[in-house]
Symmetry: C2
């Protein structure tokens, strides 16, 4: 069976919203997709008929195994294309989301596999999010917020909490990116700023807001 771009966007949105264990509500979906609740209801009936999800009126929605598989395929394409755009074509990470939002709907199965191979089977996208493999499996990132990292433990930046241009600008200026190794030397309770040190550089402090936007894993 094949699905329209609209249907695929709904499936992906549900996938991202159902990370908890509660069902996804009509209003949540409407907000995520910048559409109206009435439109969501219409589409949910359609996607239920296609067996991509379980849905009963007034009770929210959850993807079926089928739906989850479809969602993972779309997420795989989205993140592979993001990797391509940044790694191969030198886009900034704040520029790639909207383009990938289109590219993720290109249907060729062969294209995805060839692209994956060309890129060297990357495990994470430019924002540190895991890329599902061709079977839908992806690395489970147990990264923690930088604000919670213990003192003097060397850790590697593995993800960001936002993909905004503003964050990218700041990170560029401080020479921090995915993969940067650092350790926390002090935490200041006055403003919750923290002092970090990157190898071969002098220690410097970063704001609470920035620390909360960074995820790290210990190495």
């Amino acid at each position: 069976m094949s699905f329209s771009i609209t249907e695929e966007n709904y499936i992906k949105a549900i996938f991202h919203l159902q990370q908890g264990d509660e069902n996804v509500s009509t209003n949540e979906l409407a907000a995520e997709l910048h559409t109206k609740a009435a439109s969501v209801t219409d589409m949910l009936k359609k996607l239920k008929a296609k067996k991509l999800l379980s849905y009963e009126r007034y009770k929210g929605v959850r993807l079926s195994a089928e739906g989850k598989k479809l969602a993972l395929g779309i997420v795989r394409k989205h993140r592979l294309w993001e990797f391509f755009l940044v790694d191969t074509l030198q886009f900034g990470w704040d520029e790639v989301h909207d383009v990938a939002e289109e590219l993720e709907h290109i249907s060729s199965k062969k294209l995805v596999e060839k692209l994956d191979a060309f890129l060297g089977h990357p495990k994470f996208d430019p924002h540190g999010d895991p890329i599902p493999d061709s079977h839908g499996k992806m690395a489970v990132q147990q990264h923690i917020n930088l604000i919670d990292l213990a003192l003097n433990k060397i850790a590697e930046v593995s993800g960001v909490g936002s993909q905004s241009t503003e964050l990218l600008e700041l990170l560029k200026h401080k020479h921090i990116g995915i993969g940067t190794k650092l350790e926390v030397k002090r935490k200041f309770s006055f403003d919750h700023s923290i002092e970090i040190k990157i190898k071969n550089q002098n220690a410097f402090t970063i704001s609470q807001q920035l620390a909360q936007a960074l995820f790290v894993k210990t190495v």
Copy 2:
């Protein structure tokens, strides 16, 4: 202004059909787009309203300057993506058309320019068709059919008349591709087969059908 995938496909189809000087007819378009004449009429009215073409009922259609510019942009994307698929991702040239048919509608202007630069600003796609540059200009190929090439003139394969798997299979077997240099040694009137010679190889004959499917330019 932005255009739907359907509108873009119409514009591109008209562009390809209007190479002569006559207007493009409704039926020609319907055949090209695998749709019905009535649908074409509806769409032509819409595209006329958007000033992409001139159209009067019963008189056929022709692209405006606007329309031509749009068409060249789509053709540029189509051929750049085909080049990418063959050159970077190692697709066979018979596999790329349908994928490029989708990729040509990705809207990001920046993506096209970065892709073009990454590929090294190629001038021709894998089938020997010229790739328009960012201003819509493209090399005017004055290649001739191999069947019409004079004896003992060294020429370079510059295009194919078909993109079928069958042709590709045959050309692979004979080690002929775009860029191959060859000369015609004899022409046989019995079956119109021709004997060709590729540098450092023994001469061999190819059929009339194959010769007619190959375009060359003298070097």
